[in-house]
Structure formats: C-alpha cells, structure tokens
C-alpha cells in the first residue's frame, strides 16, 4: 500500500515537470521577434562605433537568455545542472581574450613586413 502511494506521488511529480503555460511561450516568442527587429534596425539605420557594438551585444544576450531560460527550461532546472552547463562556456571568454591578443600581434607583424594599411 505504502509502495503504491509512493509510486503515485512519483508519477505526479514526473508528469509535472517542465509544464509551463503556453502564454509564457507566446510572450517569449513575441519578445524574440521584437529583439530581432531591433537588431535588424541597428543595421538598417547604419549605426556605427560603440553604439552599434553595445546594442548588438545587448540584444544578442537578451535573446540567448530568453531561449535558454524559457524555451530550454533552464530557469526551472536543478542548480547542479544549471552550473554544469552554463559555467564552462564562460571559460571560452579566456580563449577569446588569448586570440584577441594573438590576432593583434599577427596584424602588427603583417603591417611591419608587408606594409599594407588595414
């Protein structure tokens, strides 16, 4: 009897997971459309320099965050999984930093030896 009860509650817990209202998905869908339109408008109006740079990055991060958090249900996952999946990609930024310094060095040597202006 106790076993059957335990089984029943497990079943409820199991079917419950990652069930969220359709309304939320529609809202995120709409937001992704709006953010993509904003990204496109940055290019359409030909914004340049740091303004373009920061707007592109902001819209990109907001879109990525919405997709991972809501569509991929990361916001409701166990903390152990969230950290296991989201922390390692941050280390890619170290690689980015290394390659930025490497490519400026390559550019410098190219300019020194070939003398062409970028």
């Amino acid at each position: 009897m106790a076993h059957a009860e335990a089984h029943a509650t497990q079943h409820v817990a199991h079917t419950e997971h990652q069930q969220h209202p359709i309304k939320l998905y529609l809202l995120v869908w709409g937001l992704l459309f709006v953010l993509s339109t904003f990204s496109y408008l940055v290019d359409y109006f030909g914004l340049q320099g740091y303004l373009r740079w920061s707007l592109i990055i902001i819209f990109m991060m907001l879109k990525a965050g919405l997709i991972v958090a809501v569509f991929m249900h990361m916001a409701w996952e166990r903390l152990a999984l969230i950290y296991a999946i989201l922390l390692p990609p941050l280390l890619v930024l170290v690689f980015v930093g290394m390659m930025v310094s490497e490519s400026t060095y390559v550019l410098l040597t190219r300019l020194l030896f070939f003398g062409a202006a970028p």
Partner: protein, 240 residues
C-alpha cells in the same frame, strides 16, 4: 509489479535547495543531476560540446577578421536583396532569423502539448517546426548559390579579405548541417508521436526503454540550441 526505473524513484529524502543543494548533488555517492533523466542530461552535455565547437569557429573567424590587412566585406551589403526595385540591406538574413525564431516558438508549444499527451497537436506542431527548419535551409541554399554565383570562394571574394569566404562557408555550413539533422530528428519523433508510440509504450529507436513524451522535450532542446547558435552567428557574422 515492477517499479519503473525513474530518476525520481531514487530520491527518498527531501534534499536541500539552493547552493547547499548544489553541493549535495555534486557530493560523492550521488547522482549529480538527481531529477534530471539521463536522456536530458546527455543531450545537455552534447549541446555543451557543440557550444565549444561553434565557439572555436566564431573565435577563428574573429582572429581572421582582426588579423587581416585588407578590408572585410560589408555583410550588410553582401546580403542585401533587390525587392521590387528597392535595395534592402541584410533582408535575407533578417527573414531567415524570423523563420528560425518561429520554429523555436512552435517547438516550445509542441513540448507543452507532448506533456499533456495531446499527440495530434504535438505531431502537428513538430511538423510545423520541421517545415520552418526546411524553409530556413532552403533560404540558406539560395544564399549560398547567390554568393557562389557572385564569385565568393573559400579562398577569395570580389569585395576584400579572402578569409570572408572560408569563415562564411564554414560557420553557416556547419549550422545548416545542424538544422538539417534537426529536421530529420523532428520528423522521426513526430512520426512516433503521431503513431502513438508513447501512449502504447512501444519500444524502439530513440525510445529504447519505454515511451514517454520526454523525448519531445529532448528534441526541443536540440532544436532551440540550433536557434541559439543562430542568434550568435547573426550578431557576430552578419551584424558586426
């Protein structure tokens, strides 16, 4: 009565939440992801590895673009189209972005319907997702053909830095391959859903143990990831 091998059946005591829970989950003699099924955990770990691959591609592109001494082609103009005599910059890529976002929306709703065991709606929404995906790949084929006709090659292009072609074909080609595999994956699972495999608990490929609708969510994770990668490619390759 044989108890089903559910991850939750292994959890007997209530577990702490927050950081204490994180430490307890990762502690020795534990299964780290507790309530998360193996199928889902493995898909997440695969996606993490894919993140590194796409990360490497984008970093290679960044290095090539930063280190070149010749001007980089302006993507806004390269991907412009003449629509009804009007010159619209980057419009093709914008449409592709909207198509892929819409596919993510229908996929999220398919997962929801799957857990409600509404198999007709689930299958229909998955088919719609696959259709959006196929549309995206079709538009990419058009984009590639146009660029190849204009003389873009992995070793050169008419507008400047030779590396533009190699990084373009590498990054968008690998992403397009992911979308294509995703469409096939969606069609396989949609067929299973439509046939009712998950209600009859039929055994089979991708549902090796027994049918429950979690595979729809796992397929969804892959599909949303493809959309997620496009968000980064859109920002770094096309808008930069």
């Amino acid at each position: 009565m044989s108890a089903p091998l559910k991850p939750s059946s292994l959890e007997t005591l209530p577990r702490p939440s927050g950081l204490a829970g994180l430490a307890a989950d990762w502690a020795s003699d534990q299964r780290a992801f507790k309530n998360v099924s193996w199928g889902k955990a493995m898909m997440w770990i695969f996606l993490l590895s894919d993140t590194f691959i796409f990360g490497c591609f984008l970093i290679a592109y960044m290095s090539a673009r930063m280190a070149t001494t010749v001007p980089w082609p302006n993507p806004s103009e390269v991907f412009a189209l003449e629509i009804g005599g009007v010159h619209v910059p980057l419009i093709l890529i914008a449409i592709m972005t909207f198509v892929l976002i819409s596919s993510s929306g229908t996929m999220a709703m398919a997962v929801n319907c799957g857990y409600r065991r509404d198999r007709r709606k689930t299958a229909a929404l998955m088919l719609l997702t696959a259709l959006f995906g196929a549309t995206f790949v079709g538009m990419q084929a058009f984009e590639w053909s146009k660029l190849i006709a204009e003389g873009v090659r992995p070793w050169g292009n008419p507008w400047g830095a030779a590396q533009f072609g190699s990084t373009f074909f590498m990054i968008t080609g690998f992403h397009g391959t992911h979308v294509t595999i995703g469409v096939i994956f969606l069609l396989i699972i949609a067929r299973k859903v439509w046939r009712g495999d998950f209600d009859t608990e039929r055994r089979g490929f991708f549902t090796s143990r027994k049918g429950h609708y979690e595979i729809v969510e796992i397929t969804g994770l892959y599909w949303h990831f493809v959309d997620l990668v496009w968000v980064f490619i859109f920002a770094f390759f096309y808008l930069w």
